[in-house]
């Protein structure tokens, strides 16, 4: 038994130094072979305790027989961190998987046993797993004739968004699960939909079913078909089950509130087969509801677990933040605010600005003060917004850079092609692949240089392009070949040397580029040159991440298109660029890993919540934005109607929509404040960056709180 005074291993604990709480000790001491349900609010130390218990478990169990299941990879970080510090294991590493990871593992392994019965057209050939991009690509090819017939004419959205909504509907049908034939009738439960949109629901379902049919015929498994095949077919074959049960004795599922109903079903089944299933449930969570996560369904599991340990309190959060959390919660729900401790003022600060630029510079000024004067570590500061436009990100980044504050940002849903790094890489690829029928303009060449050579100003970049770039040959001539020494000097020999390296790499390393897969080229060019010291992307972790994603995406596309569409390597390369120009979404949506522990972060609020880590200072931008409140509104899908047990007898109406938006904002606000260690800076801006005024519910709740506090503090004036 652990002694109550023993400090928690610092490696897994951000609240160091602390001692285990009573609840934590109860978890740690709970017999490793027995199921356990742990619940509690965020930051109450559930995962910390579960990991300590895991350490005990690993002493008893063969570690390879432990499965750790999380809804997405970022949530498994504490487990990865813990395991990376363990030097000795009995057997191999425990498995850390998501439900789709597990599905893929088992579907691949037992494919031949069920592929025919599951309806695949080529049961004796290997399956191919589609990424989001390749799935979207296939769907777009299948839907093309329908678009030509005038389908979806009532829906005013871009093609790529429309396609992703069709896929999203299919995914939900697999994760909930419900038959894909129900998609339209479920969406039709929404009230107030304009009649032409209802026709589009039917059309969306028709395209989804056609896509499914095509996938089955060609052994293509998109995310939805993977889950469906696993649940309905693979899992039903006795060898698969046997294999699983003999592999895993103990299962730890963390953040089950962010997981899908289908995962919950498996957890229940594993419990009933006498596995030591430990579930961890975060009471305030549910941030992935729009992806199909179902916290209510997760919570129902509790009834079937005999042992439940409930964590009540949050660790070491200053009292004023707790007061703020409750006050905002009350205010958001329009309940009457009661008297509250004046200490609440220490927990937050509201600033109002007329315009975005003022807000940005003031926020950066405050951050500078925190870092310089109060010696706050930049990693203990986060800037949060519901949406993060590139212009906003850019302005913040420029401002922070001037103040020499290390910072980083993630923006998962951004389109590939708008990313300057990707555009630069594509330009270089066009230089390297001389046979491509794709021209390079001077400005493209200039932008590529500006993105790669540090300290290069736009005038010098332009000079280089004017004097050394040939649009016909699609490459730079040698710096040494310049005849005008004055221009050479203006460009500077330092820059010239960099240019020469770029040139040589592009020309020499891969002389016959056409046979090189594009992803290999991108990775090599980035890895061997652009990311090296002396180049602009050196130590640019965000760029590294972006390039990594790009290379992965190209690789998946290449494998898929050469295997299944019979494209040549060269065709696949060009087809990828073409598809990119049509607007692809990154496959690793919300799956970005960010390991920048020394930097301040600029993130969408949801991303921050899904990283599940505390941060001392939070700057919330544009609290008037509707983004703090509303769900992602997509005309052809609806997360609430495509979930388990929607109401069958009545419509989904405005009251439901309003309530769910309210709940979602409550969850976000609660989740953020729970993850705050010292202070929240609330920033309101009168005119948003689009020039319109927004008076969203969060702003109004904050205003009501302010009004209340003024009344308490100056009762005579009112």
């Amino acid at each position: 038994m652990a002694a109550p005074s023993e400090p928690v291993p610092p490696s897994i604990n951000f609240m160091d130094p602390i001692r285990y709480s009573k609840e934590q000790l109860a978890v740690i001491d709970h017999p490793a072979s027995e199921p356990l349900f742990i619940e509690g609010p965020a930051m109450s130390g559930k995962t910390t305790a579960a990991i300590a218990r895991l350490a005990n478990l690993l002493k008893e169990q063969t570690s390879s027989r432990v499965l750790i299941l999380t809804p997405q990879k970022s949530l498994a970080k504490p487990y990865f961190d813990f395991l990376s510090q363990q030097s000795e294991f009995k057997g191999s590493h425990p498995s850390i998987l998501t439900i789709s990871g597990l599905a893929r593992l088992l579907v691949e392994k037992f494919w031949l046993l069920f592929s025919g019965q599951a309806g695949f057209g080529k049961p004796f050939e290997k399956p191919h797993f589609l990424s989001l991009e390749t799935a979207q690509y296939v769907l777009s090819k299948i839907s093309e004739p329908y678009f030509k017939q005038g389908y979806f004419h009532s829906v005013v959205i871009e093609r790529s968004r429309l396609l992703s909504q069709i896929l999203d509907n299919l995914n939900k049908s697999a994760l909930v699960p419900f038959p894909p034939e129900e998609i339209s009738s479920r969406l039709n439960l929404a009230a107030g939909i304009d009649p032409p949109i209802r026709i589009a629901f039917d059309q969306a379902q028709e395209c989804a079913l056609n896509f499914r049919k095509y996938c089955l015929q060609h052994n293509l498994l998109d995310f939805s078909l993977l889950i469906e095949t696993f649940r309905k077919h693979a899992w039903g074959t006795p060898p698969c089950k046997d294999y699983f049960y003999s592999s895993f004795q103990a299962i730890v599922a963390d953040n089950i509130e962010e997981d899908f109903p289908v995962s919950h079903d498996f957890l229940r089944e594993w419990l009933h087969t006498k596995r030591a299933v430990t579930l961890i449930y975060d009471q305030g969570g549910g941030y992935r509801s729009f992806l199909g996560a179902d916290p209510q369904n997760a919570y129902k599991l509790k009834d079937e677990w005999e042992s439940v340990i409930t964590f009540r309190d949050q660790f070491r959060q200053p009292k004023p933040l707790g007061v703020l959390r409750i006050a905002l919660n009350t205010s958001i729900q329009f309940d009457k605010l009661k008297s509250m401790s004046p200490s609440i003022r220490q927990a937050y600060e509201v600033s109002s600005y007329q315009f975005y630029p003022q807000m940005i510079s003031d926020v950066c000024e405050k951050i500078f003060h925190l870092v310089e004067t109060e010696h706050t570590h930049p990693a203990d500061i986060v800037i949060l917004a519901p949406y993060l436009s590139d212009a906003l990100k850019f302005s913040l980044s420029q401002n922070l850079s001037q103040k020499r504050i290390p910072h980083t940002s993630s923006r998962p849903s951004r389109m590939y092609l708008v990313h300057p790094v990707i555009r630069a890489l594509i330009t270089y690829a066009k230089m390297a692949y001389t046979n491509w029928p794709l021209p390079i303009t001077r400005l493209e060449a200039r932008n590529a240089l500006l993105t790669s050579i540090p300290g290069l100003d736009i005038a010098r970049a332009d000079l280089i392009v004017q004097t050394l770039f040939s649009e016909d040959e699609k490459r730079f001539r040698s710096f040494d070949s310049m005849t005008n020494p004055v221009t050479q000097e203006r460009i500077s020999f330092q820059v010239g040397e960099k240019l020469e390296n770029l040139r040589q790499w592009l020309g020499d390393e891969y002389s016959d580029m056409d046979d090189t897969p594009l992803d290999i080229f991108i990775s090599a060019f980035y890895g061997e040159l652009l990311s090296q010291k002396g180049y602009k992307l050196f130590e640019d972790l965000e760029a590294a991440n972006t390039v990594h994603q790009l290379a992965q995406s190209i690789q998946k596309f290449r494998q898929f298109s050469t295997d299944y569409l019979n494209l040549s390597l060269s065709q696949a390369n060009v087809e990828y660029i073409r598809t990119l120009q049509e607007g692809l979404l990154p496959s690793s949506f919300l799956e970005q890993e960010m390991e920048f522990e020394s930097a301040l972060r600029i993130e969408p609020a949801h991303t921050f919540l899904m990283e599940n880590r505390p941060c001392d200072y939070q700057f919330w931008l544009d609290i008037g934005s509707m983004g703090w409140w509303e769900r992602l509104n997509q005309p052809l899908t609806n997360p609430y109607l495509l979930r388990r047990n929607p109401f069958e007898t009545r419509q989904w109406n405005d009251v439901d929509e309003f309530q769910s938006n309210q709940q979602s904002m409550l969850r976000v606000v609660e989740g953020l404040i729970r993850r705050c260690g010292k202070k929240v800076f609330l920033n309101a801006v009168h005119v948003n960056e689009y020039g319109t005024e927004q008076r969203g519910p969060l702003l109004r709740a904050v205003q009501a709180l302010q009004k209340h506090l003024i009344q308490i503090e100056r009762p005579d004036d009112v």
């Binding site: 004419h153 829906v155 005013v156 959205i157 871009e158 929404a190 009230a191 107030g192 939909i193 304009d194 949109i197 589009a200 205010s331 329009f334 315009f355 975005y356 630029p357 940005i360 436009s389 590139d390 212009a391 850019f394 302005s395 420029q398 708008v418 300057p420 555009r423 303009t441 400005l443 493209e444 932008n447 500006l450 300290g455 100003d457 736009i458 005038a459 010098r460 332009d462 000079l463 004017q466 120009q581 509707m626 509303e630 992602l632 509104n633 005309p635 109406n653 405005d654 309003f658 009168h686 005119v687 960056e689 689009y690 020039g691 319109t692 109004r700 205003q703 009501a704 009004k707 004036d717």
Partner: protein, 741 residues
Amino acid sequence: MFKPRPGQTEVINYTGGKMGVSAVPGSGKTHTLSFLAARLVASGELAADQEILIVTLVNSAVDNFASRVAQFLTQMGLIAGVGYRVRTLHGLAYDIVREHPGRIGLDNHFSIMDEHSAMEILDLHVRNWMQANRSILENYTHEDFRFDHKYQEWLVFLKTLAANFIKQAKDFQLTPEDTSRLAENEHLNFPFIQFAHGVYENYQQALQQRGSVDFEDLIRYAFQILENDPAFTERLRRRWPVILEDEAQDSSLIQEKLLRLLCGCDGNWVRVGDPNQAIFETFTTADPELLRAFLREADVKKYDLKYSGRSTQSIINLANQLIHWSLQEHPVLGLRGTLTEPCIHTTLPGDPQQNPADQPDQIYLDETPYSADKELITIARSLKKWIPENEDKTVAVLVPRNTRGAELAQELDKQGVPFLERLKSTKPTRDVAAILANVLDFLVHPTYKRSFSTAMKSILNSKEDLRVERAENKALQKALTVLLKNYDLERLLEERSIDWLEMNAQILPETISKIEYAQELLKKWQFAVTLPVDQLLMTISMDLFQEPADLALAHKLAVLLETGASINPSWELPDFQDQLESIAENRFSVYGFSETDMEFNPDLYPGKVVITTFHKAKGLEWDRVYLMSVNNYNFPSCQENDSFSSEKWFIRDQLNLEAELTAHLKNLVLSNLEISTRTEGEASLKARLDYCAERLRLFYVGLTRAREQLIITWNTGKRGDCVEALPLNALRRWWEDSNAH
């Protein structure tokens, strides 16, 4: 704080239900309505989730209202900004659609199409139609002309015709499917129906492909969402338990329907307006009759705000005489009653705003038949003399059209009279586009010294506090020349700073700091150049602009360029720069969210002539006002020699095709397609009456802008055949008679 007059008291003591208020010019309606809003907020009867909703016509009024309500609340010891919301109809519609975009097939990030892009779409389809339907246009061309020679006129006209048709159809909530019923009706022998319907259909398709809506869609969609969803409507009724509507006389059909729906049967709705000042009716469905009909409704409490402290007794007498003349003496029966009572009354003793002392000698209704040029010269001379003697007074010249304003500006410039324009696209609009175009030009050509200088000057001119006055211009130019002589451009874009002393050029420290400021911005933006164009533009504008209008406009331009980029994937920086430049030069009017007529306070410009159109002068007042070009061309009265700008001179039989087309649309709304088989030309005649009525109201608006002094002139027009406008003639004779006694 606020001492109400009779009439105002009743309004501010409003307790609920429907109320209609007729307010004469200068009666303090904005003030009264703002106070009412503040009082309702302060009453404590609003729940935490409720707001008073104030709806007004233009963005300038939104700011005006918001600041007044805030001021009252602060005086009451409450915090401003809570418990009320001020919106234009477009802003309100945006709020509504924004909450449920999915219901009508949009997502959260839908974009709003601007006039420029809309016109580009129309251009394409109109040209196609013209090519295929040449014989129709030949048939409709005036016999004095050949169609081939009038191609350009037809093109411009048809684009406007199509744009207005689409706007009206949307106001009537007619979709292309609806208008197809008109187009397919074989009995209608009017080919422009098929034309307008076809363009409408193509236009809507183009919007859909771009994921865009236009402003009229926004309102239509808002109404549709509310109509489709009673629960949502109910929630909004709870959120906005009281609606205060200003400028209700200019309310369009759909605005009234939308507010009626939001208010509900037993809701609380206060509508304030002056039917005599309805001047936005042409080409819209707005109609002062809507407000008059509302005032007649049984459950509506009616009040008049008839006291006004704005003008002298003489000026009020003139305005009231115009009402009397319109009611009793107008020679055209169909125009009698265009202006209605209440008349304007001077304020009562004890009122904080007493009317200015009367100066009948400062009223001058000039009977001289000036030529167009002579009129300009006369007014410019008069101002040149008057201004130095009255530097603390405010003065405006009201012109019927933008072009006339531009001519006057030229003349004033020539005579050295200080002035300020408030015309179609205000100067800031053109400036924003031009400044951005100049900065982009430098980013396209970073090695051109001229581009650098222009960009630097543009940046400085965009900042109020850094603006380079004429006197300083030379010094700046000199400094830039010296700088560029000593340094290559790449050196100016590096981190290393500039050694000004070394140049030995005796440049003033203020000039240096200005240059360094602009230089810093260029240094920063050079790295934004790899961003997508919309983000680049926003980054630049975030640094440059502070004014909401400028920011909104800059964003609009960013969206515009982004749309251009998505339609033409091969476009690069130079293409965008071209586009911006053409916007700056062509002076597209940009309306809606980025409306540039932001709050304007004439009292801030004493000693300077404000040139404005009659329309833009609404709501404003000056010590001295000139009304110019008041002839029968600008203010016709359905007299024999009157001409009508809607009856295009190159079209046969004085047909007003727009009016003809509108008549068909209206019949479609009334489901009365048979009526539409009537003879061509009927609607054109009817439209004359409407137009004359609106111009008469416009004249009334002009008159009532003056506090103390009023000068009215007219001219004989381009061809020398125009006469004094009928109402002016009537007023002048009355004035001369009454002053003769």
